[in-house]
């Protein structure tokens, strides 16, 4: 397995395809397989696609700490340095999108374009602490759909719901329906700072978001429970093309891979062969004009 030392941590990565670089980051408690099941096969004829497992995830090294979006952005910098990638388009999903935003804030010259799929944004975590946040309802319903009941007093208990979710069969991929390998994920949750680090805001404040000039394609599912972040980001990012995937939820890379690839290719193609457009193309919010599919 290809592994590389980045920011002092050993990361497991995969590279496939030919063309200009494209780097993809998965989400919280996931791994890079999320990209490979449906999406990389559609991109590898156009791009040299690099995916990797975030620190602590997949086959990458598990460290006791170092899981803030800033830490993981520094891991990304280390990975790009080690692979000799000077600047590249980035695609991130969920927490991976948060890391991409943080990276774009720290190292704007190294991101030609950004596709941010369902970023939560730590600075908006207060929205998700509310017991009435629709994400809790979604989560409980998802668990109950596979026969797992949630006591009412635990229906907004993050730690409880994460651990209960690990007891459900896999929802996606070739091993769908089989039990999860809970050990590594439990270790990550219980023995590292991942959970608390997720809420680290650092320099990526709500005000700082407005300084990220990177041309950004912002994608959320129509029924995503992170739409609160969408409404903020689509107005705050100065150079953004917001897109809502009709019928979609939070896990677009797994639920709607074809629509996602369609949007990504249209966005990257509009930047020219090197993916380094200015974002002045049709559909961007620079002039605060509403794109056709935004809401």
């Amino acid at each position: 397995m290809p592994k590389i030392l980045a920011n002092g941590t050993t990361l497991h990565y995969l590279r496939s395809g030919r063309g200009p670089d494209l780097v993809m980051l998965h989400g919280f408690l996931g791994n890079q397989a999320v990209w490979h099941l449906q999406i990389v096969p559609q991109l590898r004829s156009r791009f040299a696609v690099t995916t990797y497992d975030l620190r602590g995830h997949g086959y990458s090294e598990v460290t006791p700490s170092g899981y803030t979006a800033r830490d993981l952005a520094e891991d990304l910098r280390g990975l790009l340095d080690a692979l000799d990638i000077e600047a590249t388009p980035l695609i991130g999903h969920s927490y991976g999108a948060d890391v991409c935003l943080y990276f774009s804030l720290l190292y704007p010259e190294r991101v030609t374009r950004l596709v941010a799929i369902e970023p939560g944004l730590a600075a908006l975590v207060h929205q998700r602490r509310d017991r009435d946040w629709n994400g809790w309802t979604y989560w409980v319903q998802k668990l109950e759909s596979v026969g797992v009941s949630v006591p009412p007093d635990k229906s907004s208990d993050l730690d409880f719901l994460i651990k209960l979710s690990l007891e459900t069969p896999k929802f996606y991929g070739p091993a769908r329906g089989l039990p999860r390998n809970r050990g590594p994920l439990l270790h990550l949750i219980e023995k590292t700072t991942l959970i608390s680090d997720y809420e680290y805001v650092g320099d990526l404040t709500l005000d700082a978001v407005e300084t990220i000039e990177t041309p950004t394609l912002l994608i959320y599912g129509e029924h995503s429970h992170f739409l609160g972040s969408y409404y903020f980001l689509k107005d705050a990012l100065p150079n953004v093309k917001p897109v809502i995937l009709p019928g979609g939820e939070h896990f677009g890379p797994l639920e709607q891979p074809d629509q996602l690839v369609h949007e990504v290719l249209a966005f990257l193609d509009s930047a020219g062969p090197e993916g380094a457009g200015t974002g002045a193309e049709e559909g961007f919010n620079r002039a605060r004009s509403a794109p056709a599919r935004s809401r």
Partner: protein, 106 residues
């Protein structure tokens, strides 16, 4: 020159053995041609992706592993090492192959 089936088997067997070295729960597991990769061996999505990518890079041929894995997941069925080798080998030889039991089976 197209590799022989034995060469493809040896490569996939060796790659899986290497993958298993990183698994906590693979000690004592014996990998045989009839071993079912997901239910018996404990292969997961990430390992399957690594395996598929490695095979394509090694033999320089693009293969529809994404489609194979999607079919396995949709049908919630498993695949043996032998069947997996047949899948890879058939694409190296230019043949088509589908998951047994698939509506698309040829």
């Amino acid at each position: 020159m197209t590799p022989t089936r034995e060469e493809v088997f040896a490569y996939i067997h060796g790659t899986l053995q290497t993958l298993m070295e990183d698994w906590d729960d693979a000690e004592g597991v014996v990998l045989l041609p009839q071993t079912m990769l997901f239910t018996e061996l404990g292969l997961e999505s990430l390992g399957a992706v690594v395996l598929g990518t490695s095979i394509q890079e090694r033999f320089g041929v693009e293969m529809p592993f994404g489609q194979l894995y999607a079919e396995l997941g949709e049908q919630q069925r498993d695949i043996s090492l032998n069947e997996f080798v047949d899948f890879a080998y058939s694409h190296l030889a230019g043949a088509t192959w589908r998951v047994a039991g698939s509506p698309h089976e040829t």
